[in-house]
């Protein structure tokens, strides 16, 4: 039954236009048959149909032209005119005087076709406009949903008409379509720590003042208590008569960006601190050297020169680290490729680092020769970093053990210290740029926090892995693996 009603409604679309001729054809045929049955069986007068049938026919033509377009109107008209000729034919042979209607019928036919054409065309234009509007709406909806930022569009009362899923993620709450944004439900928004005056909230501002707000930064507290830095822009949408009909707001979560900015600031401050330290001693050693112009003690001159050279080397290493980070971030860290014995480099590095510590004894447990492909200097850099960390983070430790082992097709190098260790929750973070381990009393350790970040990048570019096993207070063991290659491999 519903289907019948749906069909009878001229504005409903059944969707299958291919069969649009069937319904007008059958309906008009049924109308004609009913007229004939009425004339011959009920009224018992062939002329009983009369001119009133014309009104019914016109009504049918208009209805089907509007329902099914030009095709429907023309089919209706066709069946109707055919019926008129049938009447003229049958009444002529029955001897009636109703035979002079051929010219009238032709005029009627032309008129009917014109009506069907006009109504049908109108209907098709309306359909097209409806389609365009619906396509536009779908396109807008798709764009809104695909945007990486949150979008809310409200009508002029502040009632939400469009919203995308990003909003829910950013705000941590679900705003349904139809929700009314008002001065009473904007509470947890702060600008620079101060709660915002609800009438100044961007959507409300855009709707009431008719002005745009661009890139307003604010701090938003989510229901679960987490804070998010948001950047909000709102603009009123006006119609041709300049009346505000809607407001569109775009919300971007800039928490990560803020965090990166903070990290960058920390990095610069840390970098400048670390660079200033050797510069301080460098300046003093130069001043001490100046005194030798008078004292002329050759031994002292040589010693101060050495110390000046040390400080210059420290500065060089620091700037190299900073440059490496910059290269990693722009993807420009370059590697040389050669085959070398990893065990030999381990022994050399340990010898070098042993000279820097009196407290620690660095032991090496190495299995013969292990040839790997890669950049000898970069692997040496990783080893220096791991060993210096082991020394730095085990101020009370006395032993550091370096092992070189072959495991399947990899050589695994490990550096074990017996120092402060790393908490489980920090173990992933230590490979991030600028992350440094702190100990329970929030003690700080010198350095830029770049070493492991650079090392991980170097090892991964050699198709290896760098990882850590550690327990708080019990020391750490850092491992890196490198594939053993008999042939030349690519880094």
């Amino acid at each position: 039954m519903k289907k019948v009603f749906k069909y009878l409604n001229p504005l409903s679309h059944l969707g299958d236009r291919y069969y649009s001729w069937i319904f007008p054809f059958v309906a008009n045929l049924v109308l004609c048959i009913c007229s004939e049955v009425y004339a011959y069986s009920i009224a018992k007068n062939p002329m009983a149909v009369g001119v009133y049938i014309i009104f019914l026919n016109v009504a049918f033509i208009i209805y089907f032209a509007f329902r099914e377009g030009i095709v429907g109107g023309f089919i209706s008209t066709g069946v109707t005119i055919a019926y008129y000729f049938y009447i003229i034919y049958t009444r002529h042979y029955s001897g009636s005087q109703y035979t002079s209607g051929i010219d009238t019928t032709i005029i009627l036919a032309i008129l009917y076709f014109i009506i069907a054409f006009i109504i049908g065309t109108l209907k098709q234009q309306i359909d097209r406009l409806i389609d365009i509007q619906s396509d536009e709406r779908k396109r807008l909806e798709a764009i809104i949903q695909q945007l990486p930022t949150g979008v809310i569009i409200t009508d002029n009362t502040g009632t939400v008409t469009h919203i995308n899923k990003q909003i829910n993620k950013i705000l941590g709450l679900k705003i349904p379509i139809g929700f009314k944004i008002g001065t009473d439900n904007i509470t947890k928004v702060k600008i620079n720590g101060d709660a915002i005056d609800p009438t100044q909230a961007s959507t409300i501002y855009a709707l009431t003042k008719g002005k745009s707000i661009t890139g307003r930064d604010l701090l938003f507290e989510r229901k679960d208590g987490t804070l998010a830095y948001l950047q909000v822009s709102s603009a009123p949408i006006t119609n041709k008569k300049h009346k505000i009909i809607a407001a569109a707001s775009i919300i971007t979560d800039i928490t990560q960006q803020k965090e990166l900015e903070r990290q960058k600031d920390d990095f610069l401050s840390m970098a400048s601190h670390e660079l200033k330290t050797p510069i301080t001693s460098l300046k003093m050693f130069i001043d001490l050297q100046d005194k030798q112009i008078i004292e002329k003690d050759a031994k002292k001159v040589k010693y101060f020169n050495e110390r000046i050279r040390d400080q210059a080397n420290r500065l060089k290493e620091l700037t190299n680290d900073l440059l490496d980070v910059s290269r990693i971030q722009t993807g420009k860290l370059a590697f040389n490729k050669e085959a070398f014995d990893i065990a030999e480099i381990v022994t050399d590095t340990v010898e070098g680092l042993q000279a820097t510590t009196k407290r620690h004894k660095i032991e090496v447990e190495s299995e013969l020769k292990q040839i790997v492909q890669g950049d000898r200097y970069r692997i040496y850099q990783v080893l220096v970093n791991l060993l210096s960390n082991a020394i730095k983070y085990s101020p009370q430790g006395e032993k550091i053990i370096v092992r070189v082992k072959k495991i399947k097709q990899n050589v695994v190098v490990s550096v074990q210290d017996f120092g402060i260790g790393i908490e489980k929750s920090q173990q992933d973070k230590i490979f991030d740029r600028l992350y440094q381990v702190t100990d329970p009393e929030e003690k700080t350790f010198p350095g830029l926090g770049l070493g492991l970040y650079i090392s991980k990048e170097i090892i991964e570019r050699h198709k290896g892995k760098l990882w850590v096993e550690s327990a708080k207070g019990k020391g750490s063991t850092f491992y890196f693996s490198l594939p053993i290659t008999s042939k030349k491999g690519n880094i």
Partner: protein
């Protein structure tokens, strides 16, 4: 008798440079890289002035300064703090230090501030 100066910094190179410089100027100098050893050194060496770095691995110079300034036996010792961090001067004075010098400094400025506080 020469004035006694204790230098506390986590950087061995800076310690060595300052120590050599001050010794060449006629001061008696002791050094330590470990903040927690400051108190022992102070008790044994009885310095007239302490050159104290603000951020050291293992301890916080500001906390050491506060503690020394709260102790009646050590509060008269002049403390000059030093740091490479911008804004650390306010931190130092807040923790009760008598003076502050920013790293990297000119040798003559370091000597000037030491002389000033030893008057």
């Amino acid at each position: 008798m020469a004035n006694k100066i204790l230098v506390v910094d986590d950087d061995i190179d800076i310690l060595e440079a300052i120590s050599l410089l001050l010794k060449s100027e006629g001061y008696a100098v002791e050094t330590t890289t470990k903040g927690e050893q400051t108190y022992n050194k102070v008790a044994a060496f009885k310095p007239d002035l302490i050159l104290l770095d603000i951020l050291m691995s293992g301890s916080d110079g500001r906390a050491i300064c506060k503690k020394l300034k709260l102790d009646d036996t050590t509060k008269s010792i002049q403390i000059v703090m030093m740091s490479a961090h911008p804004g650390a001067d306010i931190d130092s004075l807040n923790s009760g230090a008598d003076g502050y010098i920013a790293k990297p400094f000119e040798t003559k400025d370091l000597l000037k501030i030491i002389k000033h506080h030893l008057k």
